[in-house]
């Protein structure tokens, strides 16, 4: 089964299959029935399942999250979608105080199947209020699960798992991923939430990444290979639960750790992974661990600044080189200068998001 489809198509397929299989599953969000259909992930759902199961909604993120939660208490399995994570901040109270707590605080008597999709990430000058990546905020909260798939295959399998999960799941989609392609089986399948994937095995250094940074990490690993360095790339896939074992096993093998996260450094998940490695694999690390993150500054709009703001493969490569005591290289030397502008996901993209 060598079918190649996009990440967006993989997601749309997962949602569609789950809706077909279980009439308790429904999806709501601003613009779910739009022609653009959440980057193509919700197109056709309203035609197929009707307005009550694929619904537009008022611009009332807080209230509508409460509505989704309430419906879950009657056995429904809501999927809520937000075009930008920032809009979901209006619903923080419902997500953190309510959704995350109900199962525990009511002594296990109620469950809360709920998927909240939020788009994150960079590009095309969206700037300070439309391209923040606040995954750490949600990953800090017990009771939530937080998923950040990087590949079409994972997107489908993890979306199915998220929808079938009886807990609130924050499903984060970097908007540069929707157009990438990969092998995806046609049948329904599940990927367990909380299990990392060894995206590339290697022996010299461990590169941990998730979501879009996996793409950069794999690219970096290929270049590193040419430089004689065999990197292991771990795609965390979920950041809560966090698969510490996968990280630790790899670090114990390689003795070197680089973590790449397209989010702020201080209090971010990259730091968490480094802390775990230091606590649990102390003595195995042969060099100080490094995290590659956004600098601790708001997200600027102009391509004049975003080019310096986002860590890329070259930064990963140089972190590894430095860690291994080698000389750093430029993109020119490595012949990996990107031809299309750095603020768009691919040459075809004509803006805006």
């Amino acid at each position: 089964m060598e079918r190649i489809i996009t990440y967006a198509k993989a997601l749309s397929e997962a949602i569609d299959m789950c809706m077909a299989k279980d009439d308790k599953v429904y999806i709501m969000g601003l613009g779910v029935p739009d022609p653009s259909g959440f980057f193509g992930t919700t197109i056709g759902l309203q035609e197929k399942y009707g307005k009550m199961r694929a619904m537009d909604m008022p611009t009332s993120e807080n209230g509508m999250t409460g509505v989704a939660i309430g419906s879950a208490l009657t056995g429904m399995r809501p999927i809520m979608a937000h075009h930008r994570m920032e809009f979901a901040l209006l619903a923080t109270e419902q997500i953190i105080n309510q959704a995350a707590n109900w199962h525990y605080m009511f002594g296990g008597k109620s469950s809360m199947p709920l998927v909240i999709r939020m788009f994150i990430g960079r590009g095309w000058g969206q700037g300070p209020q439309h391209s923040q990546s606040l995954q750490a905020m949600f990953a800090h909260i017990p009771g939530l699960k937080v998923i950040m798939p990087a590949t079409p295959y994972d997107a489908k399998g993890l979306m199915v798992s998220a929808i079938e999960d009886n807990n609130p799941v924050i499903f984060l989609e970097h908007r540069w991923l929707h157009t990438i392609t990969g092998k995806v089986p046609e049948a329904i399948y599940r990927i367990p939430i909380g299990k990392a994937n060894i995206a590339r095995s290697g022996s010299d250094v461990t590169i941990v990444a998730f979501s879009y940074m996996v793409i950069e990490a794999l690219f970096a690993a290929n270049i590193l290979m040419k430089l004689g360095i065999d990197a292991e790339v771990i795609d965390m896939r979920s950041i809560r639960p966090l698969d510490a074992d996968a990280v630790l096993e790899s670090v114990k093998k390689t003795g070197h750790l680089v973590v790449a996260d397209q989010a702020w450094k201080t209090g971010g998940i990259a730091g968490e992974i480094i802390a775990i490695a230091c606590e649990e694999a102390f003595g195995f690390l042969k060099a100080k661990p490094v995290r590659l993150t956004l600098p601790d500054f708001p997200s600027p709009s102009t391509p004049g600044l975003t080019r310096y703001y986002h860590p890329r493969a070259i930064n990963i490569i140089n972190s590894v080189l430095k860690m291994l005591g080698k000389n750093e290289k430029t993109e020119e030397e490595l012949d990996i200068v990107q031809k299309s502008p750095l603020d768009i996901p691919n040459k075809e993209f004509k803006g805006p998001f």
């Binding site: 308790k24 209230g63 409460g66 509505v67 002594g107 009771g143």
Partner: protein, 337 residues
């Protein structure tokens, strides 16, 4: 006359036979709530119920009037002040008191405390974030509607909750989808120590706000349990047949301090005069007036009181002697299977 009422169930059976049976049950349920709350107030100073409590004494009529209009499968959502709602909806007294005592027999296994009473089997949840259960109540109604069920959902909230924007969002969506939800605002004039005047402009009118959102709305005397029952019954009937949401604003008053078990008029945030005015139209007193024609009613009240007190004594004993949850249970129920 000797009444054969040895427990709540048999009292129910007994009054069902009588004329005015419904009203007597209303009285019984209000009295039971009041006696439970007063018992809590009495022994809270023992410091064994180690969680914040918000008593509902004075506000029994909204709880009973509304919940009597509901079926077991209808849902009611409540707030920090939820004892009355929980009991009126049919919550288990032992589970409630155990929860206040933090015991493993509590309705949250001790994890929630007084502010998180719940029992999914009778459609009841309460949480203490002001306003937050309003959209959840709407969502339950959405769930019923999508599933073509005839159940309704009720969201109880206080006057302060009407200042949270989420009420407006909830009204809008409930009206948009004609959802079977009933918004119950218990306006007791205060948010903690703050009177309405420092929180809402004088010109503001909740009924008009609801109507302007497309939600039918009525004011109702919240000390008159029968009026509350009738208004709710109408709203429920309408909701069940797809007629959409209703908001009821019930005027009411709490007797005790906001949180805790003391009287606090001496602080001066409300006047003794106002307090006495409201006590004069106490919901139990008002209902009793309707029932005095029935000669035996005074006697019945005595009997009821006895029965209820027995139940209460029993439930407190149960709660107090129940064990705390064990350490392992700290680590259970993080995720549902």
């Amino acid at each position: 006359m000797e009444l054969k009422i040895s427990d709540r169930q048999s009292y129910r059976e007994y009054v069902n036979e009588l004329k005015n049976g419904d009203l007597k049950l209303f009285y019984y349920d209000m009295l039971r709530i009041r006696l439970v709350e007063e018992k809590i107030a009495e022994i809270y100073p023992e410091q064994e119920m180690r969680c914040p409590v918000h008593l509902s004494v004075g506000q029994e009529a909204p709880a009973v009037g509304v919940c009597k209009a509901l079926g077991k499968d209808d849902f009611a959502l409540s707030t920090h002040r939820s004892h009355a709602h929980y009991l009126a909806k049919g919550g288990n007294l032992k589970a409630m008191l155990s929860e206040l005592y933090g015991r493993e027999t509590g309705c949250c296994g001790g994890k929630g405390g007084s502010m998180h009473l719940n029992d999914p089997s009778i459609g009841f949840y309460a949480v203490p974030i002001v306003g937050s259960t309003i959209p959840i109540g709407v969502g339950i109604a959405l769930g019923f509607k999508i599933q073509n069920k005839s159940e309704v959902s009720v969201a109880f909230f206080g006057d302060a909750a009407t200042e949270e924007g989420v009420l407006s969002e909830s009204l809008n969506y409930a009206a948009l989808c004609k959802l079977p939800v009933i918004f119950i605002c218990e306006n007791n004039l205060y948010s903690v120590y703050s009177p309405l005047s420092v929180r809402q402009p004088a010109e503001r009118n909740l009924i008009d706000i609801a109507k302007a959102h497309g939600v039918e709305a009525f004011k109702c005397d919240g000390n008159d349990v029968v009026a509350v029952y009738n208004a709710t019954t109408k709203a429920v009937e309408k909701a069940r047949i797809g007629g959409g949401p209703t908001l009821l604003e019930l005027s009411t008053y709490r007797y005790y301090e906001h949180c805790g078990t003391n009287f606090d008029n001496q602080l001066g945030y409300r006047s003794e005069e106002e307090f006495n005015l409201w006590k004069a139209k106490d919901p139990l007193k008002m209902l009793a007036l309707k029932l005095v024609e029935d000669d035996n009613f005074k006697l019945e009240i005595e009997q009821m009181t006895k029965v209820i007190n027995l139940e209460i004594t029993d439930a407190f004993a149960f709660a107090k002697s129940a064990p705390y949850p064990d350490e392992a249970s700290l680590f259970t129920h993080l995720y549902a299977k």
